[in-house]
Amino acid sequence: MAGTPHLVRGVDHVAYPTLDPAATVAFYRDALGFPVVHSICAAGWGPADHPDFIHFFFDIGNGDRLAFFYYFGYEPPRRGVKGDVYARFEDDVPDFFVSSRHLAIHVDGEADLMEYRRRLDSSRWPVELQVQHETIESIYTHDPNGYMVEITRALRPVTPQEDLDANLTIDALLDVLRADRPTMDALLARKAELILERAAGWAVPAPKLATGAPTR
């Protein structure tokens, strides 16, 4: 909300369970080259039936970390025919839903993206897809746990008008969700109303000048 300070500073860590820590280390540390930066050996944690576990962290750049839990002696009941080691689904769940959850890690440019493509393609986990989206280009694979991993680069900076557009989209979505059957048609009609209400007087901010002078 306006006036509410935005104080957070990105991802500290995101954590997933793994049933195969050897393959997880082979993928993130050895194939991708993400350093191991932290680990916790936790014995006697929690209630008596809580297994001992290793919580280990990979540096994914920018001080952010991707972490895993390995629980000694624990394997969840095997259910479902698709999904990853954490979330399993039966065949009646469509692939678009199963594959929607993923982690995207960004790189600075095309050369760096292609470097990670090279590392993956020479590993047991080659790139499954490379695609240019609206404003980013991405490569995808699944890690040994079945988690989808995306590495992406910006094709150009996001513009202020795209932030405005995103906010109109979300406000239109919240409005149409109050209907019995929200649809894309209803959202686009509502969004057009919001564009006329709010966007007509909106001026594109002047681009920041690259003067080289320090800013404070």
Binding site: E134, L164, A192, E193, I195, A200
Partner: protein, 81 residues
């Protein structure tokens, strides 16, 4: 009159430009959006725009008094509602 709204970013500009080739269509501005105004129907050929799929399928920002009757790899078609 009906209208299609397209955000003015570099990837979307060909969508507005191709739409404006139709003499029955008028192209205006509403803030950072193109407003593509039409009477009964507007058809935009994807190949003429040169848009890759991700851009093509995210180029519509809003529709006024119109419904989308075709939006596939060939064309985007809107008709007055």
């Amino acid at each position: 009159m009906s209208a299609l709204y397209v955000l003015d970013v570099p990837e979307n500009r060909p969508v507005a430009e191709v739409a404006a080739h139709d003499r029955t269509v008028s192209l205006r501005r509403v803030g950072p959006y193109f407003e593509i105004v039409f009477d009964r129907e507007v058809v935009i050929d994807r190949r003429a725009t040169g848009c890759r799929p991700a851009v093509w399928y995210s180029s519509v920002a809003g529709t006024r008094d119109a419904r989308i009757t075709q939006w596939d790899k060939d064309s985007l078609r809107l008709e007055s509602a």
